[in-house]
Symmetry: C2
Subunit: 341 residues, 2 copies
DNA sequence: TGTTAGCACTCTCGACCGTCGAGTGCTAAT
DNA sequence: ATTAGCACTCGACGGTCGAGAGTGCTAACA
């Protein structure tokens, strides 16, 4: 008679998965009897486990070890969680405040997001920000500091800002700087960052505001480099040291080197569209990640692009916590980057 | 007859140290003969090594392994390097540019410095910034962004800036914001950050610029928290995974946890005054760092305080490279933070 | 027909050798 | 003072063995 999945098998499988996620140890029939099913005997549980193994949900590392949930089983488990409702992340308000404080400062925000994700999940987080369409300058402003220095702030039409300190002549007071700011804004606003560089040569011949122009050029270059190209930020790399599956240092090192700017890995993550993608084991398709799970979701960015938020770690990970944390953070990022969910 | 140090012994000791720093393996007399002293026989070298051991410069992990330089020997070696001239760090210009781009943005600069240090040395870097005297506001400026938002920039009298995005009413154009900025600057400049918060309650009753004031309060709080208290930034934590002395994952973990906000560790680093401090092994005096070397130096900050720059790693580290990299970075930090060397 | 006790069987893990090789220390010769 | 030669020491490595954990199967039972 064909073996079929029934409720009790499901409950036993879930118990095995939970225990295994916690302990990283193969779980045996006696453990299950004591911890989860005192009303059943270990022999009965053994029979069910044998059926589950036949169905492909359990593996045994070797004959006299307990059973380990297969990747198939973990997939089932994670997908089930996806359909259910998400629990709230306790640290929600704190997280929101932390990230909102970095609104508009994309180069601060991405690392902060990666850090929050990795801290809340104890795993490794990867945040990818797509290259955005060419940005235009919407405003240039100089702010007086002391000692002949000024802060140059560049605002783009998508609301991102970037700043740097430059030297200016001592003669300029606050009003003078404001006048220059207005003039520069007038000249430059609406120009793309690329155009600005070309224009600068022309102005530079007038000799007047040399340092200011150099500053703008440098800053424009920086924003360009950072917004035209895709940005990839990692957080919590060394969290994996706490997982017994990486007790072997060479494994840990290999894992880390797979992460660092691995084009194959990035292209997998880029594929994520709305909603969650849960890839376990071979599904990831990147050599060296056979024992990993990669959870991805995306966030919206003004202009219709989408960035992605990713968590990677051992296939045995606290999926519930990971999913809800990621939903929280990607939601906040969408809000902050002015995109649509 | 008493054993004394002579030139040949010195040369042999240096060869042992260099080889050991490279390979992390005990070095034997035959290796020395082949790699460094083909004109001597291994037996002669053995005799010298035996003398060096008697002098306390060499240890043998066990009788049939090679010799390992003792901490005393490493100290001698490092101190010698200190007295000699420093080689230039090849990446000097790059490093300088990288850090200068963050001038005035202390919260960006510290992590950047730690990162540069750790990348150039392949070790772990710790940068400490002392709490500074209470700062005063020297300027407040609002810059229009799109969609009823503005960038609020706060400049302190020491030239540090900090910014955040706030909401403002749509009616305000650039000139309006400038007018408000001037008014706010007039009212607030010269006030300490602490005072500002108190004042805000008074203004808030007038109801006029609620969001702006909230923004200032938040920002003032942030700068305060960050400049009043000492800041500690780590870089390159996971570099240690590449060292065989941390091949055991629990050692690596222990090392990392000693680093994280360890008050004992910090107080050792705070003791650094001008010049370099080289602590090896027990000299550090922090449990768990018995096999480490801690190199510290300081940089000047406006107002006469000093921050510190530290590299920590296995006692066997490339001292020459570490020392010159640290001198470069601490020099740049002094320039950027407006302190005196 | 589902559940359970009992038992033989399998496989890993740690402890316990014995061998091998690297490296030393000593002695005697140069 | 230097060196060749040799005995000696100790860790690394590989193999063997017993203990323990956990399974699969069978037979009894509700």
């Amino acid at each position: 008679m064909a073996v079929v999945m029934d409720t009790r098998k499901g409950r036993i499988l879930n118990a095995i998965i939970e225990d295994y996620i916690q302990t990283a140890q193969p779980v045996g029939s006696r453990t299950l009897e004591k911890k989860y099913f005192p009303s059943l005997s270990s022999a009965t549980i053994r029979n069910e486990m044998s059926d589950l193994a036949e169905l492909g949900y359990l593996l045994q590392p070797h004959v006299s070890a307990g059973r380990v949930p297969s990747h198939t089983a973990l997939r089932r488990f994670a997908k089930d969680l996806l359909n259910g409702s998400f629990e709230d992340v306790k640290e929600e308000q704190q997280t929101r405040d932390y990230l909102y404080a970095r609104r508009g400062q994309t180069d601060d925000l991405m690392p902060a997001a990666a850090q929050v994700l990795s801290e809340l999940t104890s795993l490794t987080a990867i945040v990818m920000m797509p290259g955005r369409r060419e940005q235009k300058i919407s405003r240039v402003q100089l702010i007086a500091l002391n000692r002949g220095q000024a802060l140059l702030v560049l605002v783009t039409d998508s609301g991102e800002t970037s700043q740097t300190v430059i030297r200016v002549t001592d003669r300029l007071d606050s009003d003078g700087l404001y006048a220059i700011s207005k003039a520069l804004t007038e000249k430059l606003s609406g120009q793309t960052l690329g155009d600005v560089r070309k224009m600068l040569d022309y102005y530079r011949q007038s000799g007047a505001e040399g340092q200011v122009l150099d500053g703008i050029a440098a800053l424009a270059g920086r924003i360009e480099k950072q917004s035209a190209g895709e940005t990839v930020v990692l957080g919590g790399r060394h969290n994996i040291l706490n997982y017994p599956e990486y007790a072997d240092i060479t494994k840990a090192r290999d894992f880390l080197s797979v992460l660092e700017e691995n084009e194959q890995m990035l292209s997998v993550m880029r594929k994520t569209s709305n909603g969650f993608s849960v890839l376990i084991g071979d599904e990831i398709g990147v050599p060296g990640t056979e024992d990993c799970a990669l959870i991805s979701t995306s966030f919206g960015v003004a202009g219709g692009h989408r960035g992605t938020v990713n968590i990677i770690g051992p296939a045995r990970m606290p999926y519930a916590r990971v999913l809800s944390t990621m939903r929280l953070v990607s939601g906040i990022l969408t809000e902050l980057m002015g995109g649509n969910e």
